[in-house]
Symmetry: C2
Subunit: 339 residues, 2 copies
């Protein structure tokens, strides 16, 4: 069997069974985007990695190396944000075709530096290799979180509410504009949506505000799409969920591009992926005060988009017309997508 037939998540589950036993200092291992390791009495050490491969995650012609540097850093920062953590140190593996321009590499590093610096992280090492194939940038990021602030995917309880930061679907709308550059939309709309796709903002400070409150029960960052990522919370927390399509925070700009390209904006919001917003669960009452705290600290809106159900109740999406349909984890699969 080929990995393309099996799919990414089954492959991860399969190889997880072939791993050596964990050392006693591993609090969370494979199966989360971030490894959580015992460090000392005060902190957990967080470790994550994410790779961007040319032709799979990006096209060199449609983003600058500066944007690529910012984006690959942001993707990793977003993983640390989802744990309520503080990003610390990056290592970089760079796989370059030999004919890559040195100026291109300079600009990539400028983007990495820009994004790392915004969140107080540095770059402490890495390695380089040539390749006969596509360019790739693999980042490894260490972070830490005070032990009592750590948020996992596994703490959601039936009755909790489901909240998300920012807007969902802007990244998918930006991708649509990249793929159809002649689509007639205003310059400001285009810039906002392209920025969302090319240089997403990791919600590091938002994640810290949410984690410090100690009122949220579970958290994840929205890399694959809300339907898929909420599915990870359901799986790890052993709960069900009902999301409300009408509540999804969709920007007027994304709605405009969806309408002009024959797409459903709520489907982009659910499964377009790459928004790098945070999704968290909290008991009724706690969520609203948390949303206010995040908005006050960072200016980013936080909206309730659903409710946590008992596991046996299943996973549902209530459409705008009131019908309920099964919520499918139709997000990004690295091997099956586009095949």
């Amino acid at each position: 069997m080929k990995v393309s037939s099996l799919g990414e998540f089954p492959l991860i589950r399969r190889v997880a069974q072939r791993l050596p036993p964990y050392r006693p200092d591993v609090y969370v291992g494979v199966g989360d985007d971030v490894a959580v390791l015992e460090q000392d009495e005060r902190f957990y050490l967080l470790a994550t990695c994410d790779i961007q491969v040319e032709g799979v995650h990006f096209l060199r012609g449609s983003m600058t190396p500066f944007q690529l540097g910012r984006k690959v850093a942001a993707i990793n920062l977003s993983d640390i944000a989802a744990k309520g953590g503080e990003p610390l140190h990056f290592l970089i593996s760079l796989v370059l075709p030999p004919d890559t321009e040195v100026d291109w590499v300079d600009a990539l590093y400028d983007g990495l530096r820009e994004e790392a610096s915004r969140y107080g992280a540095d770059i402490v090492g890495g390695n380089m290799s040539k390749t006969a194939g596509p360019l790739a940038v693999d980042l490894f990021l260490l972070g830490r979180v005070p032990r009592e602030h750590l948020l996992l995917r596994s703490g959601a309880r039936p009755g909790d509410e489901v909240w998300v930061t920012g807007f969902l679907g802007n990244s998918a709308a930006g991708l649509a504009l990249l793929l159809q550059p002649d689509l007639p939309v205003e310059g400001a709309v285009r810039r906002l949506l392209l920025d969302a796709h090319l240089t997403p903002t990791p919600r590091v400070r938002e994640g810290q505000v949410i984690a410090r409150s100690r009122q949220a029960t579970a958290m994840i960052d929205l890399s694959d799409g809300l339907s898929s990522d909420m599915g990870h919370i359901c799986e790890k927390s052993r709960v069900g969920v009902r999301l409300w399509a009408e509540r999804l925070p969709i920007s007027p700009e994304a709605r405009q591009v969806a309408a002009r390209t024959g797409n459903q904006a709520w489907q982009w919001a659910l499964s377009g992926g790459e928004d790098y917003e945070l999704c968290f669960t909290a008991p009724p009452g706690a969520g609203a005060s948390l949303a206010a705290a995040v908005q006050e600290a960072t200016g980013v809106p936080v909206i309730c988009v659903g409710e946590v159900l008992p596991e046996e109740a299943g996973r549902w999406l209530r459409l705008e017309d009131g019908r309920e349909v099964p919520l499918k984890g139709a997000g990004w699969d690295h091997f099956r997508a586009e095949e």
Copy 2:
């Protein structure tokens, strides 16, 4: 300018100037194979990464996925060994063509597990991506070392001796056998040399014995080749060196293959690369007792191959006929090699 014209090490020096400032907890950053980070009063945290790219570092037809898993783990373990450290946690980035067999991935993980387990390390996370190009395996490894045992590249002093573990050139001889499979050599010789190339042994325990003694002044692992890697010690320690070709520890097996392929065994030992032995410096007298301690603890021989000179004396190789020639860092360059 292309990266192939600039070369790997100048490119690393160039991008190092574009990095954000280090956080105060960074003890050693870019420019070493391992980042050294303040962890607590007792330990430094060590972080390293190394990638293996198909067609550059390995050919899928000439090594099994199990061997590849072992080797890429060993390369990272060797970096931690060079600091006298204890390996702890791996993360894995896997870049796979979609038509990769799942069985192949299974075997790769079996090799990773085998090698990690030998040294008490575990695998706590990672990520996967497809690619339209060559397969690649990127490993990140965290480790730690008691603060007083840390060995760097920067501590060598004129008058110190230069010591190496094991044999040098076996890996290059193994590579020659891979490239000329019909070369008539005994089965046992072939196996020994192929093993040295395909599944090198990281000198983790040897590194710990050397570091714990607190008698060595600098250490590095021999990935690129003694001439190139000793050059890193010279650069960081601001010293010169004289290596003695006649003292290089070359196995009879490597000599045999060198003779049959028209190669100089001492050139393989100096710049063949990928031996993953340790090279350390120590004051006269200390080295011999250290060598005895390593051999007693692990069975691995340790040999004196040169002497540290003042920086202004330069870097020299004394040939077997007594002539001295400049020692050139003719090891592996990831962008310039083979061009």
